[in-house]
Amino acid sequence: MNSLDLAFQLNGRAVKVSMAPDTLLVDLLRDVLGLKGTKIGCREGECGACTVLLDGRPVNSCILPALKVQGRSVVTIEGLTRADGSLDPLQQAFIETGAVQCGFCTPGMILNAKALLTENPKPGEEEIRRALSGVLCRCTGYQKIVQAVQAAAGIAE
């Protein structure tokens, strides 16, 4: 199989890789680029654990051919932490409200919430729930996740 070249922005930095044409974005991120924060729960775009932001919008990286990100910008959970190590308000809120249990859905939840708050800084509860409806969580019952997004948005309950 021939290798193909791919260049894109990953967490704000230019990346160039050479890869096989059957590579899916999630495998490129995890196995080639070493970013393990993007999780694999189902490999069919159903659980949302593999969510990344593509040009600011959430997508499931497990069913996205890697070549599709050519020339585009990808943000993974690792990209939310700032260069100085400080956390995004969403990450901080997830910690403080107890929205994390096993943590497997957490990156996907936070990235979907990030996309929401970027577009809509003061969402209502229903908007938050809709925005996160593509990520399954089996631990939390979602309540503290909603609260965390509200807290990050500065919305008092």
Binding site: R30, L35, K36, G37, T38, K39, I40, G41, C42, R43, E44, E46, C47, A49, T76, I77, E78, L80, T81, L87, Q91, Q92, F94, I95, E96, G98, V100, Q101, C102, G103, F104, C105, T106, P107, I110, R129, R130, L132, S133, V135, L136, C137, R138, C139, T140, G141, Y142, Q143, K144, I145, V146
Partner: protein, 798 residues
């Protein structure tokens, strides 16, 4: 039981005013510094930044990739297996069949009846027929396709009642009845005579998938000295080790099992790591190379254990005023192909006997019988899943309580108030509940918060078109702490170092529930240091003491007690040293937040680390070793009478639903759940358990089911095996009451499983209340609700 009198005194003090639950509402304890506080999870930062390394995240360089060839038949003899073509494929390192298993060709959490590789026959679709290890997953997969197997298909047993028929095909040599257990209390005939109303109903529940988000993965790494290291997410490192040793033919001290962070378990990762761990280890042993075996989501559904399906019949007798007089229950409990966690570990361990014990519910009933049959079938096997046999029977007893209330024209709360456990009640096993019984308090707290009385009057249609009808439902529940076996011990080691920092060694695993936060809280509390001074060591069977499995809602209570013992040993040494340094008797010293001071003269103070340094310099022992075993469990095998579990957690759930009476669609619109947890060591973590448990119980009620057709699972993926999304789960109000457990650390008892249990019947009862139709065979999906409404003659007019 130990401390019985002491415990009773406490409880009576708290219950002197009937149903005054206000004083039991959880509040931060003033005398505790770390325990009882909603501290942040110790692993949360790693999880929100994506830095926590889960099993699938480990480097794979140098690893072979393992794959399992699975049986396509639910029941068949293996006539021949041809592996030559597969073995000849470039990149294949091993193709193994039954004869290649070095030790015992069987594993199991209780009975080793599941072959590592099937030799003579297969017993379910997914059974392992051959194992392959290859340089890449792709090659391993290609090799699987090249293996040829000749089967002779046998008739399959796909119903637990069919399994018991005389002419049923035999799945295992000892027959299809894996276990029969019975409970007999009082004089049932007298109970029926006393009854003015007798109701009999049958309820059915399907197989459930845990649907933990993280698919299973294991890594087996052979060491030069002959030791086998097996790493992966797992709930029961010691059970896994025991099985690995037998399967590999190694002494236990040459098997090293390391638990890595887990993306959810819910009981499922008690079994599955044994399964894939043994298989990967056999491949690793054979090839002498590290082997990684990872399951795809669909393979998790096919291969790993499920929640037991059951067919449950209850005959219930009561007086007109709602007082229960007699209960006769029959359970056909479907074990599936292998024993897993179903059979009895004397006296009261294993899921089946637990179902039997819990079946009559948290009610005083003078005359009781339960007959419980655990049957092998050619379906996937039942294992542990959050509640371990209790969710199923709660679905039965909580529904028939409502059906009885309707029959008697009573409010569902009234009939429960009449019969619910209180201090001094005797359970169906004859156990007198002598302490920490907060069931009625949870009922009253929940009813007040939910405004049950008000809402009960306001059910009915919510729209002018009369398509949506609102209803409310209640579910009561009880759940044990501990597992009811004779050997339910828990060990902990605490090492304090010269800088005052501590290491905590336990074999309790973290699957999301928060043990790696709660256990260090207890350690810090006892030592009198800050939480950040305690580091927990990831369970590694070469390093941590035997702790049993992380199941049975036992971690906080049993391990908490062991940690307290271990920490106190060290603290005694530290305080003795401090006493010498401060010239104050040790009995007057108090350690808190890393400072040790004289209680009578708080000015006299030194730092914990100064005392630790001095003790170390003087060669004193700063290692504590704790061990805690619950009060002995008893249960007479003939009568089912005894004290099977030493303490219970209680709860009341109330749900409001809206049912579209034309389509059968159900929306859960409001939810309140109240718990008596003894003591919340981390209240926010307790809330997290409650909210998550309720969501899981909602899924059981409305949508979850592993659909099987001729023994073949039909919904392998998360697209078809539905669990609740964020749009399906309502806001949940949690109420935490604390009625101290005399045997628990700071009064704590278990909370992990309880929240999942009464949620399902509370929702089912609300549906029936809303639309008049009752779904007695789960899940209550739109179609089932629709037909239930039809069967009831249509939804009420007004």
């Amino acid at each position: 039981m130990r401390n019985q009198d002491e415990g009773r005194k406490d409880v009576q003090l708290l219950t002197k005013e009937k149903f005054d639950f206000q004083q039991l509402l959880q509040s931060p304890s003033t005398d505790l510094a770390v325990a009882g506080q909603s501290v942040q999870r110790t692993d949360a930062r790693l999880k929100v930044t994506g830095k926590l390394i889960y099993g699938a995240d480990y480097g794979q360089q140098g690893f072979l990739h393992g794959k399992i060839l699975r049986s396509p038949h639910p029941h068949a003899l293996i006539l021949a297996i041809r592996t030559e073509k597969a073995a000849a494929l470039p990149g294949v390192a091993a193709v193994l069949t039954a004869r290649d298993v070095p030790g015992r060709n069987g594993f199991g959490a209780i009975i080793p009846d599941q072959p590592v590789i099937c030799g003579d026959k297969v017993r379910y679709v997914g059974d392992a027929v051959a194992l392959v290890a290859a340089e890449t997953e792709k090659i391993a997969q290609q090799a699987l396709e090249l293996i040829e197997v000749d089967y002779e298909i046998l008739p399959a047993v796909l119903d637990p009642r069919e399994a018991l028929k005389e002419d049923a095909p035999q799945i295992h040599e000892k027959g299809n009845l894996l276990s029969y257990n019975k409970l007999r209390k009082g004089d049932l005939e007298a109970g029926w005579r006393e009854a003015e109303v007798v109701l009999e109903r049958t309820y059915r529940v399907p197989f459930l998938e845990h649907a933990y988000l993280e698919p299973d993965v294991t890594m087996a790494v052979p060491q030069a000295d002959g030791t086998m290291v097996v790493e992966g997410p797992m709930q029961a490192p010691f059970t896994t080790r025991r099985n690995l040793a037998a399967v590999l033919g190694l002494p236990i001290n040459q098997v090293r099992v390391r638990q890595v962070p887990m993306g959810g378990g819910f009981g499922g990762k008690e079994d599955s790591p044994i399964d894939i761990g043994c298989r990967a280890a056999v491949l690793a042993r054979h090839t002498g190379r590290p082997v990684r075996l990872a399951l795809e989501r669909e393979e998790v559904t096919i291969q790993t254990c499920k929640r037991h399906p059951m067919i449950m019949t209850i005959k219930l007798g009561a007086r007109r005023d709602g007082t229960l007089t007699a209960f006769a229950g029959v359970i056909y409990d479907e074990q599936g192909a292998y024993a897993s966690l179903g059979p009895v570990i004397p006296p009261a361990g294993g899921s089946h006997i637990h179902s039997m014990i819990m079946m009559p519910g948290p009610y005083e009933i003078p005359h009781v019988s339960v007959d419980a049959y655990l049957c092998y079938t050619n379906h996937p096997y039942g294992g542990a899943m959050r509640g371990f046999g209790a969710p199923q029977v709660h679905i039965a007893h909580e529904q028939i309580m409502d059906e009885l209330a309707l029959e008697l024209g009573l409010d569902p709360l009234e009939i429960r108030r009449k019969n619910a456990f209180k201090l001094g009640s005797a359970t169906a096993t004859g156990q007198v509940l002598d302490q920490s019984v907060g069931l009625r308090e949870t009922l009253e707290a929940c009813a007040r918060e939910f405004d049950w009385a008000g809402r009960f009057r306001r059910t009915g249609y919510v729209d002018a078109e009369k398509t949506r009808r609102r209803g409310i439902g209640v579910g009561l529940g009880w759940y044990r702490t501990s597992i009811g076996t004779a050997g339910d011990g828990c060990g902990a080691n605490v090492y304090v170092h010269e800088d005052g920092s501590a290491l905590l060694f336990t074999g309790i695993t973290e699957m999301g529930q928060g043990s790696y936060t709660v256990l260090p809280q207890i350690c810090a509390e006892e030592l009198g240091i800050c939480l950040d001074q305690v580091r927990l060591v990831q369970p590694d069977t070469h390093m941590v003491p035997e702790s049993g499995p992380t199941v049975g809602s036992r971690s906080t209570t049993l391990m908490g007690n062991a940690i307290i013992q271990a920490a106190r040993q060290v603290k005694e040494t530290i305080l003795e040293t401090a006493s010498e340094m401060l010239l104050v008797p040790a009995s007057r010293l108090e350690a808190r937040a890393g400072r040790i001071c004289d209680r009578e003269n708080p000015e006299r103070v030194l730092l914990f680390r100064e005392a630790a340094a001095r003790a170390m310099a003087r060669g004193k022992r700063l290692i504590g070793q704790g061990w805690w075993t619950p009060p002995p469990a008893t249960l007479d095998p003939e009568t089912g009478q005894g004290n099977p579990y030493f303490v219970y957690t209680y709860s009341t759930h109330m749900a409001e639903v809206e049912v579209d009476v034309e389509t059968g669609e159900v929306e859960v619109t409001d939810y309140v759940a109240a718990f008596d947890v003894g003591k919340a060591i981390n209240p926010r973590a307790v809330e997290g358990q409650i909210e998550g448990g309720v969501a899981m119980g909602l899924g059981y009620a409305l949508m979850e089911e592993v659909v099987l057709k001729n023994g073949v699972p039909q919904n392998l993926s998360l697209q078809n095996y539905l669990i609740p999304t964020i749009l399906d789960v309502p806001r949940i109000k949690s109420i935490v009451l604390e009625m101290p457990n005399a045997h628990g650390p700071y009064g704590a008892k278990g909370i992990g499983e309880m929240p999942n249990i009464p949620a399902t019947p509370a929702i089912l009862n609300a549906i029936a209340n809303a639309c008049g139709g009752r779904v007695r065979s789960l899940p209550a999906d739109p179609e089932k609700v629709y037909w239930a409404i039809k069967e009831a003659g249509g939804a009420p007019q007004e």
